[in-house]
């Protein structure tokens, strides 16, 4: 217990790099498990002491091969203990581990290998060796490829290849002649050394290498460990790509800081089973994983017997009502508490066991917005799922939701040691010891992202709500202002609109205007169904879209969104005043959408300029002529008369009165 208290208070000041932390744990908790891997159906475990010995052998082996200060070591493969050890080994020698996405194709890998000046690569198996050999000609710096799994490698004769075990045994030989080589190397590591280079995904342009220091990750990890009270008895499952900043924080940095054990699943397809066997106490997953879990539960429940199904639905209904309140410590009646306790025995407990959540005390989600119903499902079960917000440039942490103040639509309050400021443009600015050092070999990009005072420009637009929680609303470049200076976040509003099944697409306008106006595309299938149930006849999209009842339907949706916006003092001014339902569906063939179905805002603004002007006039009718391209390639003129309607807007006061 004592050791735990010590950890929560942070390790002694001396342990300011990952190799030093490794030696500290090997000394303080030599027998505690450090890392596990399921191999041949059995969980193989290494204690901190054993892990330190493994890292030592590898570091010495790498040194014997000429790996030294400043050298870059690529790491390619699934989450494997030996690959995590390679990180520590490289860091010990003052080198920089560069984990790569293991599913990247050879082309993408070639770019990063060359960009990062990789000399050494540690890879998992034959598949990765093949990829690296394929691109080796284009990466002149690449000298050595070290492979972990010798299967299928017997016929490879390339001189640049070496087996991981071989490197380790060479390392043990190398060390004999060099007294305390490893200890001296560890002692030489410094907090401001580069600890890792993580490549951004490169959705906007070429991937960039984000350079981070030991200090950045250790400070961030320690803040997380202290905030959540993690200690060496916690358990996590490392199943997300090693190249991703979240995995580096949760499966590497925090484990080294708190001393908890990281378990590596057998493979991507066995994660669910392995999770159940390990029963992690601490779990991270992007929203889609939670979504998949929920879907699986629902599908299995559909297959269950009628009695079980009724039991499940009864108690889930109860959990939705009171589960989150109990989790957050809000008052709940004794009767409902008793029922919830019964539900725990009959439903929640067994369900959590199946999901591998029996021992979970904390789960995080981040990366994108999570659907409120998914979020609430897990919280209602008593699983403390929280959201956080961060990026590669901030060692994954900017804001985190504190216990008891968890909501689906915010990302929480700034983490300890992180300053967050909202720029005049609405962009979220961050300053902390956890922000990145630089983009590798890109001083211009670095200067652009991080200003002279050390503020990192995240590129996200957000604001603090009335309770001091950060809300991320959009990418900063899309956010504008109304003429009176009110914040206008088009995508935020459009997403709220598209949340209704009747609305397929929405485009909002308002930048430098008096008020917000919207184009709406109805969902032909959903609205068509709705119309059929009411016995309405229509001939097609254009006809249906122009019907008055459809306008009323859309207006109701818009008014719900307006009410939602009114509840928020910052966005209250950006309620939608006027709207129209477009006479045709926005189409990628007409250039109105990208191929991935994202709205091309500027193109639409130009093309429908006359309609936009009509929205900002008092007219109730507008006509529009457009050239359309038919599917056979011919084009023709389409003339349409459109109705323009107003939606009710709510003042903050009215809303208070109403509730």
């Amino acid at each position: 217990m004592k050791a735990t208290v010590q950890t929560a208070g942070g390790p002694p000041a001396g342990a300011d790099t990952f190799p030093k932390l490794l030696l500290m744990h090997a000394r303080e908790r030599p027998g505690r498990p450090a890392i596990r891997e399921k191999d041949l159906g059995i969980w193989q475990e290494w204690s901190w002491e054993q892990m330190a010995a493994q890292v030592r052998a590898l570091a010495c082996g790498l040194a014997a091969m000429g790996f030294g200060r400043g050298d870059k070591l690529a790491i390619v493969g699934d989450n494997r203990p030996r690959l995590y050890w390679a990180m520590a080994a490289a860091q010990t020698l003052g080198g920089v581990p560069v984990p790569l996405y293991q599913d990247a194709v050879a082309e993408e890998m070639a770019y990063v290998l060359a960009d990062a000046d990789i000399r050494f690569a540690v890879v998992e198996d034959q598949e990765q060796v093949d990829k690296l050999l394929e691109v080796k000609d284009r990466c002149p710096q690449l000298e050595w490829i070290i492979y972990e799994d010798p299967r299928g490698m017997r016929h490879y004769r390339q001189p640049c290849l070496r087996a991981y075990a071989q490197v380790q045994s060479d390392g043990r030989q190398f060390e004999i002649g060099q007294h305390e080589f490893f200890e001296r190397a560890v002692a030489r590591t410094r907090a401001d050394d580069i600890s890792v280079m993580l490549y951004t995904s490169g959705t906007t342009g070429k991937p960039k290498g984000v350079v981070l220091t030991h200090e950045a990750f250790i400070v961030t990890a320690r803040a997380g460990v202290e905030r959540e009270g993690l200690d060496d008895r916690d358990e996590v499952l490392a199943y997300l790509p090693m190249a991703w900043v979240g995995d580096h924080l949760f499966s590497y940095a925090q484990s080294y800081v708190a001393g908890f054990c990281v378990s590596c699943p057998e493979g991507a397809s066995t994660v669910m089973t392995d999770m159940r066997e390990i029963g992690p106490s601490y779990f991270f997953a992007p929203p889609r994983v939670f979504e998949n879990l929920l879907t699986q539960v629902m599908i299995r429940m559909e297959d269950a017997g009628a009695f079980k199904r009724r039991l499940f639905h009864y108690f889930m209904e109860l959990a939705r009502r009171v589960g989150t309140a109990i989790l957050d410590g809000r008052p709940v009646s004794t009767g409902e508490r008793l029922q919830y306790a019964l539900g725990r025995v009959l439903v929640y407990g067994p369900l959590k066991n199946v999901l591998g959540f029996s021992r979970i005390k904390l789960a995080y989600t981040a990366g994108e917005a999570i659907g409120p119903e998914i979020f609430d499902f897990f919280r209602a079960l008593g699983i403390n799922v929280k959201q956080f917000y961060g990026s590669t440039e901030t060692a994954a942490t900017i804001c985190v939701q504190p216990n008891g103040q968890v909501r689906a639509d915010t990302v929480g309050v700034p983490a300890a040691g992180v300053e967050v400021r909202i720029a005049d443009s609405g962009e979220v600015l961050v300053r902390s010891k956890g922000t990145f050092h630089s983009y590798y070999k890109r001083p211009d990009d670095t200067a652009e992202a991080k200003d002279a005072e050390g503020w990192l420009h995240t590129g996200d637009a957000g604001y603090f709500d009335d309770e001091g929680h950060l809300r991320i609303i959009d990418r900063a470049k899309d956010v504008g202002k109304l003429a009176d200076g009110t914040l206008f976040a088009p995508k935020f509003i459009e997403n709220k609109l598209k949340f209704f099944p009747f609305i397929k697409e929405a485009v909002t306008f308002g930048d430098q205007r008096e008020y917000v106006a919207a184009f709406i595309n109805i969902d032909l299938e959903a609205v068509g169904n709705w119309a059929e149930k009411r016995g309405l006849a229509y001939s097609g999209y254009t006809d249906l879209a122009a019907q008055d009842v459809v306008y009323t339907l859309v207006r109701e949706c818009i008014e719900k969104v307006n009410a939602d916006l009114a509840a928020d003092s910052r966005l209250s001014g950006s309620q939608i005043k006027r709207f129209l339902v477009l006479h045709k569906e926005l189409d990628a063939d007409d250039g109105e959408l990208t191929r991935t179905r994202k709205v091309r805002r500027r193109f639409i603004a130009e093309r429908y300029a006359t309609l936009i002007e009509a929205l900002y006039s008092a007219r109730a009718q507008a006509s529009f002529e457009s050239e359309v391209r038919f599917e056979d390639g011919r084009s023709g003129l389409l003339r349409a008369d459109l109705k323009l309607r107003e939606a009710e807007r709510f003042g903050v006061h009215e809303l208070r009165k109403a509730s």
Partner: protein, 263 residues
Amino acid sequence: MTATSRNIGSTLLDVRNITLRFGGVKALTDISLAVREHEICSIIGPNGAGKSSMLNVINGVYHPQEGQITYRGVPRRRMKAHEAARQGIARTFQNIALFKGMSVLDNLMTGRNLMMKTSFIQQALRWGAAEREELEHREKVERIIDFLEIQSVRKTPVGRLPYGLQKRVELGRALAAEPSLLLLDEPMAGMNLEEKEDMCRFVLDVNDEFGTTIVLIEHDMGVVMDISDHVVVLDYGKKIGDGAPGEVRNNPEVIAAYLGTSH
């Protein structure tokens, strides 16, 4: 890896002048073939050519009325199938013959049954050497699970697996016996292209990693020509071709049999 990089050795299985009759029907007539160590030998031929009968003769299920089989240089007398298994001959079946209600792991463990030395009573009570023995066998089986990449279905009942995966499990069970000669009866039948490619890869890997000699029956000519060192062609119980894939492909008699010239 090419065929030439492997060292194909001396004759492992020598079948001489075999004739197999069921009453008045001649299933196999005067067939001779030789399988050398480490090679992949394919037996092809139209339906009813006697391919499966040939495999059944090799692993001792059928007893030919005439002819001689020599395995590892020892001429074989009339014997039972489990004796063939004991000599290191394992097989898979055209129609999957697994225990559908048992897990993948348990099915593979049955493949090691012949090698268990402790008695049934000991095994049932997990008494004495039985437990240690089971652990050893389990490790061997886990290596096969790893090899065939079926970890995620280890505990799944075989009956719930898709067909292609069941075929892979059946291969696994045959491998569990650590055979020196592996007989595969249409390992790729009914598979889609991707499953076929996977299966080819596994067959080649088994041959390469474990040095197992493989005799297989297959209809997909692309597969046969790609992976075989040696092809034997049967038609109406008679051998009409024998040699390297290239030679067999150009053999006029084989072409005739496959194109269905009138007989």
